[in-house]
């Protein structure tokens, strides 16, 4: 490996989900924090092994739903009582039971839009370029049957030789340097 080139990190490939989960667990226990695993489908044990418990998606969806409900009810009340009041047989302007369906629909609409924006935004997408794709085996297999783990160079514990040794000790099939 050329020591002079800038590097994004080191990437190890594993044979199957089981070894990847074990490797991710050891990497976390070793003290690495800026690392990521890559698998062609979601693996729940991997989330536990890496301690990814980002609860912000839920929070945003809850807030989105509350805002949607308030907007829905507020819009109808304002229109029916302020902007365009129609007196129909002396019935109340804010006849709230009739406003429930639209309030409900807008709650769902806002919460769903927030859910999609949250997973896209918190994941830092859209991202037109990412260094991991510079590893040829990753570009070929990550979305098919490859299980990868990459330790990033900006992790404080990252050291080219020591991290390489560590990844070898995890039983990686193949280790590549990721060009930045």
């Amino acid at each position: 490996m050329d020591q002079s080139k800038p590097t994004y990190g080191l990437m190890a490939e594993f044979a199957d989900p089981t070894t990847l989960v074990a490797a991710a667990k050891q990497t976390y226990d070793e003290g690495y924090r800026r690392f990521d695993s890559y698998s062609p489908f979601p693996i729940h044990d991997l989330f536990d092994a890496m301690h990814c418990h980002d609860r912000r998606v839920q929070l945003f969806v809850l807030l989105g739903g509350i805002v949607g409900g308030l907007v829905g009810f507020g819009l109808q009340s304002w229109i029916s009582a302020v902007a365009y009041p129609l007196n129909i047989g002396g019935r109340p302007y804010i006849s709230w039971p009739m406003f429930i369906p639209v309030t409900f629909e807008l709650t769902i609409l806002f919460a769903s839009l927030t859910a999609v924006l949250a997973w896209i935004g918190l994941n830092g997408l859209p991202m037109p370029y990412h260094p991991v794709f510079n590893v040829p085996s990753f570009a070929r297999k990550a979305s098919e049957d490859g299980f990868f783990l990459a330790i990033e160079a900006d992790d404080p514990r990252f050291d080219r030789t020591r991290t390489l040794e560590f990844l070898r000790s995890l039983g990686a099939k193949e280790i590549n340097e990721i060009e930045a």
């Binding site: 989900p17 089981t18 989960v21 991710a24 990521d36 695993s37 890559y38 698998s39 062609p40 489908f41 979601p42 693996i43 729940h44 044990d45 991997l46 989330f47 890496m50 990814c52 418990h53 980002d54 998606v57 839920q58 969806v61 739903g65 109808q76 229109i79 029916s80 902007a83 365009y84 129609l86 009739m98 406003f99 369906p101 639209v102 409900f104 629909e105 807008l106 769902i108 609409l109 919460a111 769903s112 839009l113 859910a115 999609v116 949250a118 997973w119 896209i120 994941n123 997408l125 859209p126 991202m127 037109p128 370029y129 990412h130 991991v132 070929r140 990550a142 979305s143 098919e144 049957d145």
Partner: protein, 463 residues
């Protein structure tokens, strides 16, 4: 001596969701190849051609409608609601099965949804697109519908009437279309990344790459993605139930005998799922043969869908019985006349054909022979598709055509423009569906990987 009695297994384990012998690679290859190949079956070309020609007919019918107005349709006093609402309710109902499969079965942890959810969701989107045409064009002047339907600050200071179920419908259907699209797209992103990585042509990789947003299968991304996907499923579930409830309010909130019934919401929702599963079977049975997908859409899937159809069909049958019961039990002469007129009046042949299609024919699904013979099941599904259209016809037309005063009785005669618009939307649906199976994976690839035997983490405690 072994005192243990001879054991027989209490039950047989269910057949697998995927035929044995598949790997991550073979699943990916098989599904992605349908999209990335240059070759496509002749039946695809034929289907698209027919669909496209019918779509052109739809364009013609709509253009003439916009020139002439709704007078070209068969509607008049007393039958002021004709094909537009029948077709709208029929199409939107068909869409419901897609959301049921993708959201409700996900929450219920039904693994068999995996190989059918993608194209069922596509079916939902296209059915909603067909449905949405009718409320727009039935106004006759759709360019004015902006301020009739949507709360937008126009120069006349006029706002919609939020106490009307027709406005609830606008919000319900618009939300349903949007959320279905979001849910479908969210499910597609990892598969778009797969297509990006497998595409041989640069431009194709760029197009799929842009749509995949730079997805790189990172575990940190998957965790947030799964949370969001589950939440979307949780939000879609009450949504889908609300949509057909609101559609049924269009009728039930009115005071027309035959419409003003509290059973309408559950009966409409069950009917929607019934019609939708019939349409999913209509699509799935030919697709799995044409594209050789029998390994993924197995007989277990087909059988399960048939069972859901049977159950919802029985709920619908209960609805029909209750309508007749209410007619008698209400002691209201208009209610009892309405149901009597439905059964013996000028539209009686429609009513009894509907009973034959929706209640009697589907009873053959009780036989395992029928459930495991795709051809027979396909025929039953076609009969149900027709039956559910007739159901809406009977509800709309027979309730209206005998007004409260005999002097304002009349009959409904559909014109050729009515039929051209209806058959045209069938063409639009077929066209959109055929384009979909050509450019996007019709089965969720990444979810199929999770049911390949190698996907299990050994010693896992997770779900």
């Amino acid at each position: 001596m072994d005192p243990k009695p001879a054991t027989t297994p209490a039950y047989l384990p269910p057949p697998p969701l995927i035929e044995p012998g598949h790997t991550f690679g073979s699943v990916t290859e098989k599904i992605a190849a349908i999209v990335l190949t240059r070759r496509h079956p002749l039946s695809w070309v034929f289907g698209l051609t027919v669909g496209f020609m019918l779509t052109m007919m739809l364009m013609m019918a709509l253009a003439y409608l916009i020139v002439k107005g709704t007078g070209i349709w068969g509607i008049n006093v007393p039958v002021g609601w004709g094909f537009a609402i029948i077709n709208f309710v029929w199409w939107i109902g068909i869409g419901h099965a897609g959301t049921l499969i993708s959201a409700i079965l996900l929450l219920l942890n039904q693994g068999w949804r995996t190989s059918i959810n993608r194209f069922a969701e596509a079916m939902t989107l296209f059915a909603v697109a067909c449905a949405a045409i009718f409320p727009l064009v039935h106004t006759g002047r759709p360019w004015l519908a902006a301020y009739w339907l949507l709360p937008y600050p126009n120069s006349m200071g006029i706002w919609p009437q939020f106490r009307s179920p027709l406005i609830w419908d606008v919000f319900a259907v618009a939300t349903y279309a949007t959320v279905s699209l979001l849910f479908w797209y969210t499910g597609l992103v990892p598969d778009l990344a797969t297509l990006r990585d497998r595409a041989k042509k640069v431009w194709l990789a760029r197009v799929y790459g842009a749509l995949a947003l730079g997805w790189r299968n990172s575990a940190r991304h998957w965790a947030r993605y799964e949370t969001a996907y589950l939440l979307l499923a949780g939000l879609s579930t009450p949504l889908v139930l609300s949509v057909h409830t609101v559609v049924s309010f269009d009728f039930a909130i009115s005071i027309i005998p035959g419409w003003h019934a509290t059973i309408f919401p559950p009966y409409f929702v069950a009917g929607a799922i019934y019609a939708g599963f019939a349409m999913v079977l209509t699509l799935a049975i030919p697709l799995r043969v044409l594209y050789g997908l029998e390994d993924f859409i197995t007989m277990r899937h087909i059988e399960n869908m048939a069972k859901v159809m049977l159950v919802t069909g029985l709920i619908v049958a209960y609805g029909y019985v209750m309508e007749a019961f209410f007619g008698w039990y209400s002691s209201n002469r208009y209610e009892s006349y309405m149901i009597w007129n439905r059964m013996t009046g000028p539209y009686a042949p429609y009513y009894w054909t509907l009973i034959l299609c929706n209640i009697i024919t589907p009873q053959v699904i009780w036989f395992k022979r029928v459930r495991t013979t795709p051809v027979l099941l396909f025929l039953v599904a076609m009969v149900v598709n027709a039956g559910m259209w007739l159901e809406r016809f009977v509800i709309v037309i027979t309730s209206l055509h005998r007004d409260f005063l005999p002097s304002s009785w009349g009959m409904f005669h559909a014109t050729r423009w009515d039929w051209m618009t209806f058959i045209g939307t069938l063409g639009l649906f077929v066209t959109l569906f055929f384009l979909f199976i050509r450019v996007l994976p019709m089965i969720s690839i990444f979810e199929m990987r999770t049911i390949v035997p190698g996907a299990k983490v050994k010693g896992s405690s997770a779900h």
